[in-house]
C-alpha cells in the first residue's frame, strides 16, 4: 500500500468530475501526530488518477461512477475476472484499463 505520512503528501486528491469526491485535506497538522492516509497514484486508461478512498478495483470503478457490469478491466496488463473485482487490491503505480463495447465492424 502506498502509505505516506500526511505532511509528505499532496493536499488533496484530484476532483476530476466536480462530484466532490476529491477533498481538500491540506495541513498544517499538529506536530507529534502521525496521521497516515491511503494515497495512490494510478494510471487509469492512460491518465493519472488518484482515488480518494478506493482500495480495490471494484471500489475504483464505483468511485469513478462506472457500472462494473458494462465493462471489462485489466490491472497491470492482466485481465481481471468480474468476480475478482472486489478482491483485487490496488497499489501505488498500478496501471488500469477499463474497456467496454462500442460500435465497430
Amino acid at each position: 500500500m502506498g502509505l505516506r505520512a500526511l505532511h509528505e503528501r499532496q493536499p488533496f486528491a484530484p476532483d476530476t468530475d466536480n462530484s466532490g469526491v476529491g477533498r481538500d485535506i491540506g495541513g498544517p497538522y499538529p506536530k507529534g501526530d502521525a496521521v497516515f492516509l491511503l494515497h495512490m497514484n494510478l494510471l487509469v486508461n492512460g491518465q493519472e488518477y488518484s482515488p480518494s478512498a478506493s482500495k480495490t478495483l471494484k471500489d475504483l470503478i464505483l468511485e469513478m461512477k462506472l457500472v462494473p457490469e458494462t465493462l471489462a478491466a485489466e490491472v497491470n496488463f492482466k485481465v481481471i475476472k468480474k468476480s475478482e473485482y472486489e478482491k483485487t487490491e490496488l497499489k501505488d503505480g498500478d496501471s488500469i484499463e477499463l474497456v467496454r463495447f462500442v460500435g465497430g465492424g
Binding site: T16, D17, V44, N45, G46, Q47, Y49, M64, K65, L66, E69, T70, L71, A72, A73, E74, F77, V79, I80, K81, K82, E97, L98, V99, R100, F101, V102, G103, G104, G105
Partner: protein, 256 residues
Amino acid sequence: MTDKLVIKGIEFGSRLWVGTGKYSSMEQTRAVVEASGSDVVTVSVRRVNIIDRKSENLLDYIDPKKYKILPNTAGCYNVQDALRYARLAREAGISDMVKLEVIGDEMTLFPDVCGLLEATEILAKEGFIVFPYSSDDPITAKRLVDAGAAAVMPLGAPIGSGLGIRNPYNIKIILETINIPVIVDAGVGTASDASIAMELGCDAVLINTAIAGAKDPVMMASAMNHAVLAGRLAYKAGRMQKRLYANASSPMEGML
C-alpha cells in the same frame, strides 16, 4: 427441413451479420440492425471514456439478450494485441465468440495471415469460438481450420472499399476445400454483392460500410436482408447452366 446456420452448437437466426461501426448515432445503429433482420452484431473493444461519464452505452440500444454480440479485435496489428483484446472482450461477460482480426497493413487493412493463424490457435485452445477475418486464399483457409477456427471469414475486398466480391473463384475454392462455415466479411458494397456471395454457397455475409455508407442506411439494411435471403434461396434452388448460344423459351410447335 430447416436451413438454419449452426456453428459450434449456436443457432443463428439470420445469414446476414451486421457491423455497428460508422453510424451517425446509437439510435440509427439500432434502427439499422432491426431493419437488417440480423441476429449477430459485431462490436469493438475500446477504453471507457472516464472524462465524459455520460457517453451512451451501445448495449443500451442493442440488447444482448436479443442479439448475439460478436466482439472484434479491430485495430490490432500483432498477435499480442489481438489476444489482449479478445481476452478483455470475453471478460465483458457475454460469450466466448470473437471476430479475430490481426491486421497486416494500414492502407489495405488486409489480414496478417501468419499472425492470424498463430492467434487463432492460441485462442481456440483457450476455449474461444474464433471467427478469423481472413484473406481469400484457400491454403490460409485450410490452415485456419487446422488451427481451430469455428468458421472462416474471407474478405470479398478491402474493408470499407465497397468493391464487392473481387475473387469469387477463390471463395468458391475455399467453399469446396473446407468443411466449416464460410462467412464473407468485408468489401460488400451493395445488395447484389451480398447475393453473389450467397449464390456462391457462402454460409453468411458480414456487412458494415455498405449499410452505414449508403444514403439511406435503414433502407440498405433492408435491401441486404432481402439480398442475402434471395442469394441463399437461389443457391439452394440450383441455378441453370450457362450457355454460349440461345435456347428458346417459347415452343416452336403451333407456330403459324
